[in-house]
Point group: C2
């Protein structure tokens, strides 16, 4: 299987990307990687253990986070990101694309260069988050669609279902609707409408409303939301986590020898806590609803996260998530597709 990766995307590119590719190749003997990247990447590839399973496609440009997404996709066709997407579209031999580049450009490029699945109105960005009981929850849309209709949210639920079943191996996952209260009558116009549709959708195991404080509770395997609220939820959680760790560090620093000794003794505890909270260990965010799987790796990722994201892309391809979504759309078996 051939997966394409963008060597110039992310804060730690290209070194972390190349290291991550090597790790993934170590683990998966059937894997081949095509790397799109600027000339300087070539020398890094030369140093790889698994360079025999790597093809290099030279890019002459790089898209940065300062570039306006749609403009960048149009004006930088030879950037590592756009070149990767164009390759993905060009041939059946390429199965998926992985990048830690600009989220906006990746989304715009996915629409413009690869295209959405016929029948899916709105692709969605999916995050896999750790739950407090040690499980996982799929949360979507994390920010692609600021304004949504209820039908979009039902499609998110269905796409999420195929991902959850295919990649995480759990049948009939519980779907919850992000809402401002647990009771069935709660919500804004959008969520009230969506509640009705999800309740009527027989192919979905709808478990009702999920309050934002319960996203990580494990009460639902999949939580669907419009992209605006999804963005607010994800970033509120991120902000609170970093506020707590910032204040904890500050308080430890000012607590004298006793505090410092305590922190030293708890070093492993803090480390395992951070690892439990770290959703990068599951790979990246997945763009569902596009003709081929695309995985967005967090900008700050290190080699390990790139390897995890490649593994994740592999699983998406092997379990044919995109094909299953397409079938559901074509057969029209799902009421709301």
């Amino acid at each position: 299987m051939k997966i394409i990766i963008d060597a110039n995307g992310g804060d730690n590119a290209p070194n972390a990307v190349i290291e991550g590719v090597d790790l993934a190749l170590n683990e998966n003997s059937n894997l081949e990687i095509t790397i799109t990247g600027t000339k300087d990447v070539l020398s890094l590839i030369e140093g790889m253990t698994n360079k025999s399973r790597v093809v290099f496609e030279e890019a002459t440009d790089v898209i940065t986070n300062d570039d306006a997404p749609v403009d960048a996709v149009r004006k930088k066709p030879n950037s590592s990101l756009v070149k990767g997407l164009s390759l993905l579209k060009s041939s059946d031999e390429y199965s998926a694309f992985v990048s830690a580049g600009s989220t906006g450009a990746l989304l715009a490029g996915a629409y413009m260069k690869v295209g959405r699945i016929n029948g899916i109105n709105r692709p969605a960005l999916v995050s896999v988050l750790p739950t407090v009981d040690g499980g996982k929850v799929l949360f979507l849309d994390c920010g692609v669609n600021a304004d949504c209709k209820s039908q979009n949210l039902v499609q998110f639920a269905l796409m999420g279902k195929y991902y959850f079943t295919g990649v995480l191996g759990i049948d009939n996952p519980k779907v919850g609707l992000l809402n401002n209260g647990a009771e069935s009558h709660k919500g804004n116009e959008l969520t009230k409408e969506t509640y009705e549709l999800l309740s009527a959708e027989k192919s979905i195991n709808f478990v009702g409303n999920i309050e934002a404080r319960d996203i990580l509770s494990g009460n639902a395997d999949i939580v669907v939301s419009d992209g605006f609220s999804g963005n607010v939820a994800i970033k509120s959680m991120e902000g609170m986590a970093s506020s707590i760790f910032y204040l904890l560090k500050k308080n430890i620093k000012s607590s004298g020898l006793k505090g410092k000794l305590g922190a030293l003794l708890l070093k492993n505890t803090f480390k395992s806590l951070k690892s439990e909270m770290d959703y990068n260990r599951y790979g990246g965010a997945i763009l569902l609803g596009i003709e081929k799987p695309i995985v967005k790796v967090h900008g700050a990722s290190k080699a390990y996260s790139f390897a995890m994201a490649i593994n994740q892309a592999l699983k998406i391809v092997e379990s044919d998530v995109v094909g299953k979504i397409k079938n559901a759309v074509n057969e029209g078996t799902e009421t709301c597709l």
Copy 2:
């Protein structure tokens, strides 16, 4: 000054309420409290240090969180909550109402029994949150208005301004708009429209979009949002904080003697962290846009929080927040009011 308090609202009622009232009376010699509550509360009042400045109004009913809000307000006129609101409306001698009862019933009752300020389309629930730099941020709407128009959000900003200046004593507070990106072009239909209106509003010191991860950063003194996203933000932060503390506790428990010793040494650090994160120490959430100040105390609050909420109500009255909002509406000096 006379403030009314609901003795039967909250998980720790009536004891915590009565203790809190006594604390507040200790601190404020000009304060008188009218307590609405069931008969059994009378014996607690008898034990108060400051019982000479307390008037008891007997209620024969209690509204619980299981009651449907509007129904409860209609059918339980002699509940401690509705009786308090009716008293507040009945005479100028009463300045404010404080309750830890059902949020839904309190909001419904505020509309139905006290009424909104003429010209304010949507009252909003305001939370005062601690920022990481030791300051405070006013966040509204926290959940009253699931669907909002851009004009509502501008009114939220103006109401927030009068609260911030009056109660927290800072002129010309910085107003931010909760959005899914910091750049000016970001947003859904609502926030894009609101961005334009806030930019045009000369009486507001608008500092642009605030991402959810930056609500606690201190970059804005006031962050405005529709009630749905506001609810998602507040509850996501709550959920993340409790997830972290839950996992931390769990990890310490399983980390053996070393971890337990570390936790013991860090006991004070954890305590001060929890206190820094605890927004109850600022009092309660304030319902702005109603004819008289109403403070909603968190259901789980203890005596200290009730005292803080009473102090907060005092400050709102003394700085005439409601009067200033009314003036702005009547004079029409604010473009969007």
